[in-house]
């Protein structure tokens, strides 16, 4: 149930982001919508790895193959960490390009 509600939130963020990217005409707002989209995707990937009643995947006691494993899936968390860093880099690059465009053309891309 928790996974389901998490994914509903993530889907709504993704759809809000797609709507913003497709309908806005301002470069800054398109970038904001892209960041919202990216947050939604990160949230969805993290929600995929969640199991009910489980904790962070850090070994603090012995685990055996027959026993119950109280861990969430570590792989989506690693992928999300990579995605966050790449998102920060691409956003910085896009803002620099926007600033350059503004200084040469004196417009933010409004129609």
């Amino acid at each position: 149930m928790e996974t389901f509600s998490f994914s509903i939130c993530a889907f709504s963020l993704i759809l809000v982001g797609i709507f913003g990217v497709l309908t806005r005409k301002d470069i800054i707002r398109i970038l904001l919508a892209l960041n919202i989209l990216e947050t939604g995707i990160n949230m969805l990937v993290a929600a995929v790895g969640y199991f009910k009643g489980s904790s962070a995947p850090i070994l603090t006691s012995n685990i055996t193959r027959d026993g119950f494993l109280p861990f969430v899936d570590p792989l989506p968390q690693a992928l999300v960490l990579a995605s966050i860093v790449i998102g920060a880099g691409t956003t910085a690059m896009a803002l620099a390009i926007t600033l350059k465009h503004y200084r040469t053309h004196k417009t933010e891309g409004k129609a």
């Binding site: 759809l15 709507f19 995929v48 193959r65 494993l69 792989l75 860093v85 691409t90 620099a96």
Partner: protein, 249 residues
């Protein structure tokens, strides 16, 4: 003009509903038996990451993982760190290269502006910022060097160090030179490459963990993970600091 925008909005909403329906059907399609939300940990790849038996052909060979014991193929207690910095280090290396490309591109695009007269921050801010910077950097070093045992690591610690430098950019007019960041970032990248090449030379595969892994859960354990995380921390910190130095003019 107004009518056109309304049409665009309606078309986008229809498109979004279609996308949502397709994705929902793809995620919950249970004709193959398993859906995304019904798969257990035992059905996934991460089960092998948890039991540290990725390179074993017989998955049942290793029956348990015990704290304080040595001899596993990977000595990190934090499984996320084990995935990022050991099993998928090639991924992380390319990701760090993307960050380097972004900071180089920002430096290229932001030309020097004419000197603006910048108002200095007040005396309270100027007194408080060095103390806050000191504590932030100490916490960041702890996070970087403890990444194989607790949540954290090179990326979050590097971002903390960069935030300390951003505070310094805000409070003082005189800045650290951008050349230091531009020097440190490629050096850390070359260090990562050297680590990978020495793994290739000593163990026969790129980015192989050639240092002894130690006992699971000890402070100095997990072989090269501490070194790689320190290099990643330097690289992320200098990259984000150089980006913010370029943006602050």
């Amino acid at each position: 003009m107004k009518r056109n925008e309304l049409l665009i909005n309606i078309f986008t909403i229809i498109l979004i509903i279609l996308i949502a329906a397709i994705v929902y059907l793809a995620l919950t399609d249970s004709r193959k038996g398993l859906t995304l939300f019904s798969a257990r940990l035992e059905d996934r790849v991460s089960y092998r990451y948890l039991f540290k038996c990725v390179s074993e052909t017989d998955a049942l060979k290793q029956r348990s993982v015990r704290i304080g014991q040595s001899g596993y193929e990977n000595g990190a207690a934090n499984i996320v760190t084990a995935v990022i910095v050991d099993y998928r280090l090639f991924d992380t290396f390319c990701e760090v290269l993307i960050l380097f490309a972004a900071s180089a591109g920002v430096t290229l695009l932001m030309e020097k502006r004419k000197k603006r007269i910048k108002k200095e921050a007040g005396i309270i801010v100027q007194t408080a910022v060095p103390m806050i910077m000191l504590f932030t950097i100490v916490v960041a070093f702890y996070i970087i060097l403890h990444g194989h045992l607790s949540p954290g690591g090179g990326f979050s610690g590097g971002a903390l160090i960069a935030s300390a430098f951003i505070l310094q950019f805000i409070a003082f007019e005189k800045k650290l030179s951008k050349r230091w960041f531009a020097l440190l970032e490629p050096l850390a990248g070359l260090g990562l490459l050297a680590f990978g090449l020495s793994g290739l030379y000593l163990r026969g595969s790129f980015f192989a963990n050639f240092l002894p892994t130690g006992s699971l859960g000890a402070t100095i354990s997990a072989g090269g993970i501490m070194i790689v995380y320190a290099l990643i921390g330097i690289k992320v910190a200098s990259g984000l600091s150089s980006i913010s130095a370029d943006f602050s003019g």
